[in-house]
């Protein structure tokens, strides 16, 4: 599909009464991107999506499709396909009629409508269900109909508003893979809205993390997870252990930081973080970065923290511990593949080691 569009949002803003739902959003969504707006509920992500679809008028700013402003183009002329969270399948129409709706709106000949509709249904593996009513389908099937109905008109842009949130966990993962397959096959520019960070990380080529109407960081899933630019992003994407501290020593390629709890940590020196001695930092260590060793075992890791196991939760594929380190601070530690190892007991002393590369440094005040 070479109809796929590039989308640019310039200074986009929307107020509902006194509430600023979306503020100063500037973004470029490349052709063929699988772009995700990720954020907690009420962060403005759905409003942003609805503005792109044309259901909500922006109060300020511009929306460009392939460099052409679409602000004044009504939804029915935008040629974008949207999949609603509720699926919005028309209950008075059959599966076939639902999918064929957009084609009929475009006054295509009957034979073409027939052929395209059936092809779209087979793309989502729904052959043979054409005559059913939406109410006679399972949640997953309804979801596929909604997708087929949107894709059949070959829109220049695919918008998805939390489309998987009404499915159970297994089905959600299956639909995720299918969504990725179809999107990559068609090469259609897609914008996805979700509050589920795991979904965002697995599906997207790029993610915009949103908070209180703002876009706080844009990047690939790897960049967002491994290099969050603020506490907000780090906190929302993945689980974090935060330490605040200040730089006490500068080495060639490392910084030594003393945390408020009095722990000394080595941090990779990053060119984009010009930090001198005395500057304040927020450090973030992901739970999976820790290695656990017995308290008295000598470790070769660059950073080492002593602590006592306070809680443990066995999840099968991993064990989650809470370890109290000095200053009474509790850190979350994940131990993957606990199969052969014996589990730590609550109250047991451990030492946690982790590489300086696993410490994510975020400058304070950001």
């Amino acid at each position: 599909m070479n109809k796929a569009s590039e989308v640019r949002l310039i200074n986009l803003g929307k107020k509902f009464g006194e509430v600023e739902a979306v503020k100063d959003v500037n973004l470029t969504i490349e052709r063929g991107d699988f772009f995700t707006f990720l954020g907690p509920s009420g962060c403005g992500k759905t409003t942003l999506l609805r503005m792109i679809a044309g259901f909500t008028r922006p109060d300020q700013g511009t929306i460009l499709f392939d460099g052409v402003e679409v602000n004044d183009i009504p939804p029915w002329k935008r040629d974008v396909g949207m999949v609603f969270q509720s699926y919005a399948l028309w209950p008075h129409l059959s599966v076939f009629e639902n999918v064929a709706f957009g084609l009929k709106e475009r006054n295509l000949p009957k034979a073409v409508v027939q052929e395209k509709t059936l092809r779209a249904l087979s793309m989502v593996n729904l052959e043979g269900l054409e005559r059913r009513r939406p109410s006679e389908l399972s949640g997953g099937q309804q979801q596929r109909v909604a997708l087929a109905r949107t894709l059949v008109i070959e829109p220049r842009l695919l918008l998805l508003d939390e489309p998987l949130s009404n499915l159970d966990a297994k089905l959600r993962i299956q639909m995720r893979q299918e969504l990725v397959r179809i999107q990559r096959d068609l090469g259609i520019t897609s914008i996805y809205v979700t509050h589920d960070q795991e979904e965002a990380l697995t599906l997207s080529t790029r993610i915009a993390v949103m908070s209180k109407g703002h876009v706080v960081q844009v990047g690939s899933p790897k960049e967002i997870y491994e290099n969050p630019k603020s506490q907000e992003v780090a906190d929302f994407v993945g689980t974090s252990n935060f330490f605040s501290g200040s730089v006490v020593e500068e080495l060639k390629d490392k910084l030594r930081v003393r945390t408020e709890e009095g722990v000394m940590l080595a941090v990779e020196r990053q060119p984009e973080l010009p930090l001198g001695i005395g500057s304040n930092l927020l450090l973030n260590i992901r739970p999976e970065s820790f290695r656990i060793s017995d308290a008295d075992e000598v470790s070769s890791g660059e950073n080492r923290v002593e602590g006592v196991v306070k809680t443990s939760a066995y999840l099968g594929s991993l064990v989650q511990y809470e370890v109290e380190v000095s200053g009474g601070k509790r850190v979350k530690v994940n131990l993957v593949n606990p199969r052969k190892k014996s589990l730590l007991r609550e109250g047991e002393r451990v030492s946690l080691t982790f590489s300086s590369e696993d410490v994510i440094a975020i400058p304070f005040g950001r």
Partner: protein, 563 residues
């Protein structure tokens, strides 16, 4: 298997069930069966001869067609008023929207026969409007003559049923269903025709059929306008003037029941489909209505206020008339007086008193019956729930004339023990008729309020150590009181303006309630003033009741009048 089944049956519940069944049978089903029996037999053997006679007589045939066409016209004109009103007030957001929604149900708070009198004053041959036309243009328009007048009054009175039901189903259409269609390239009238209209259809059709049932049922309007070539007045005249032995009256009754039953069946059929429009709401609290301005706003406002202005004319007319000393052949009354109110409150206070007595009793009986029946239907462990439900709902399709005819047939000849006179000679017959007629409304209200009490709320109480009786009084009953009060109020207000069964069953003048009083007063020119004053009292009663019902229901305006 059978033993298990038997174990599930509660004996004391079964006893109550049987008592209820006997009551409902005596006062609802049996009178109806007697009417059917008379209509379908000739010298005690089955026969259709009365029906053949009916359709061979020009007057009856005309009455039949008139009733049908009045129903049809009221539906068509009512739709022309209601659909735009519903669409504008649901889909557009503008100042005055709530006012329009509220004013839109006001026509219902007036008994139609009162409205008929008032409209005579305004649109009749020597009414205000025609006097003005004569004065300015030297011509007049016979609005209120014959069937036309009946249709105008009924349309203006009953259109809110369509308005309310259409609004409700329109508001229930998930906005994302329309947005999706826009997203697919549909908009404007095409969007309305392909998506919105089919989705709101069930509620709209239910509203239409409700209007149709009411028009067939309505005896007061044709009588007040002195136009008797319709089914209800024909049945009334046959039974009251020729007597309970006249077969033609029964045949008309059966035809009316059949028409109502068909409409009711259709309405329920359609309404059961209506839930399909209510898919879960989309995520982001999508607004259903959009702001409008400019010439569209002007158009909407002009339309709404013109329509509502016209439909509220009767209220205005009756109000003015109740204070008018003399008001004939003049645009406004020459002088005003409070005498009419003195008359109805001090000289003939029994009309108001009787209404309060009868309707409170009827409402009480309905609440008691309604809540017990509803409880049995939902939580009861007895056989034959369906039968109970069916008989209790049946009065919806039994026109007042028919029920009254049935009562006369069944109870007229037999003296009650101790009273030494027939039931039809006691005022209690009116209470019974009202209770029977309004039971379906109260039952539905009670049913709904019990149904929304999730069984787990009761189980939680049982689990925490409360026994069944305590659970009922501390959990179930408090939770259902809202529905009970609403159901009782509903029975009260609709009974207080019931005319059809009243004028047929009132045993003696001094037993007559308000509606009867209005009817009697309006027969003479001097009585119009006090009649109007009674009308104002009726309007106030119904308006207060409606307001309270909506407060209790908390479901916005007009919940009580939706099917």
């Amino acid at each position: 298997m059978l033993r298990n089944k038997l174990k599930e049956i509660d004996l004391s519940q079964s006893l109550i069930f049987l008592i209820l069944l006997a009551l409902l049978f005596t006062f609802i089903l049996y009178p109806l069966i007697r009417v059917l029996y008379v209509a379908f037999t000739e010298a005690d053997s089955l026969s259709l001869s009365h029906f053949i006679n009916f359709f061979e007589r020009a007057l009856f045939k005309e009455s039949f067609l008139n009733s049908l066409s009045a129903g049809l016209m009221a539906v068509i004109f009512g739709s022309l008023i209601s659909l735009p009103l519903a669409f504008f007030t649901i889909k557009y957001d503008f100042k005055g929207r709530t006012l329009i929604q509220t004013l839109g149900i006001l026509p219902l708070v007036m008994p139609p026969f009162v409205g008929a009198v008032a409209l005579q004053l305004i649109l009749g041959r020597s009414g205000v409007f025609n006097l003005l036309l004569l004065k300015w243009f030297g011509t007049s328009v016979p609005f209120m003559e014959g069937l036309r007048g009946v249709i105008i009054v009924q349309t203006l009175h009953y259109f809110p049923f369509i308005f309310l039901n259409a609004s409700a189903s329109l508001a229930n259409v998930d906005p994302s269903l329309e947005e999706m269609a826009q997203n697919m390239g549909s908009h404007g009238l095409r969007l309305f025709r392909r998506v919105t209209l089919p989705l709101m259809m069930p509620g709209y059709v239910a509203g239409i059929l409700l209007v149709f049932i009411r028009v067939i049922d309505d005896l007061g309007t044709p009588l007040m306008l002195n136009y008797t070539k319709m089914l209800a007045p024909q049945a009334y005249l046959r039974v009251t003037t020729i007597g309970v032995e006249d077969k033609a009256g029964y045949v008309i009754c059966v035809i009316m029941v059949v028409l109502s039953l068909l409409s009711l069946w259709g309405a329920m059929k359609f309404l059961s489909l209506s839930e399909y429009a209510m898919v879960q709401r989309g995520g982001a609290g999508t607004p259903i209505s959009k702001k409008i301005g400019g010439w569209r706003l002007v158009f909407v406002l002009v339309f709404c206020f013109f329509v509502l202005g016209v439909s509220l004319l009767p209220h205005l007319g009756i109000f003015v008339l109740s204070f008018a000393k003399v008001w004939s052949f003049s645009i406004l009354p020459k002088s005003y007086t409070l005498n009419h109110y003195v008359e109805i409150f001090f000289r003939t206070p029994h009309f108001v008193k009787n209404t309060l007595l009868y309707c409170l009793l009827a409402a009480g009986i309905d609440v008691l019956l309604g809540s017990v029946i509803a409880f049995l239907l939902i939580r009861g462990k007895v056989f034959g729930k369906g039968l109970l439900d069916a008989i209790a709902t049946m009065p919806l399709a039994i026109p007042g004339v028919v029920l009254a005819t049935g009562y006369l047939r069944v109870f007229h000849g037999t003296n009650l023990p101790f009273f030494h006179q027939p039931l039809t000679s006691l005022w209690i017959i009116l209470v019974i008729a009202y209770s029977a007629r309004r039971l379906p409304y109260t039952l539905r209200s009670c049913y709904a309020s019990i149904q929304q009490i999730h069984i787990s709320l009761e189980e939680a109480a049982l689990n925490l150590g409360a026994n069944r009786r305590k659970t009922f009084f501390r959990i179930t009953f408090p939770l259902m009181t809202g529905g009970l009060i609403a159901g009782g109020l509903l029975a009260f207000i609709t009974s207080s303006v019931e005319l059809a069964s009243t004028i047929m069953l009132v045993p003696r003048m001094e037993y007559g309630p308000l509606s009867y009083g209005i009817y009697i007063y309006m027969q003479s020119a001097v009585g119009r003033g006090p009649g109007a004053a009674l009308g104002v009292v009726a309007i106030l009663l119904v308006a207060t009741g409606t307001y309270l019902v909506n407060r209790v229901f908390a479901g916005g305006s007009g919940t009580a009048f939706k099917l």
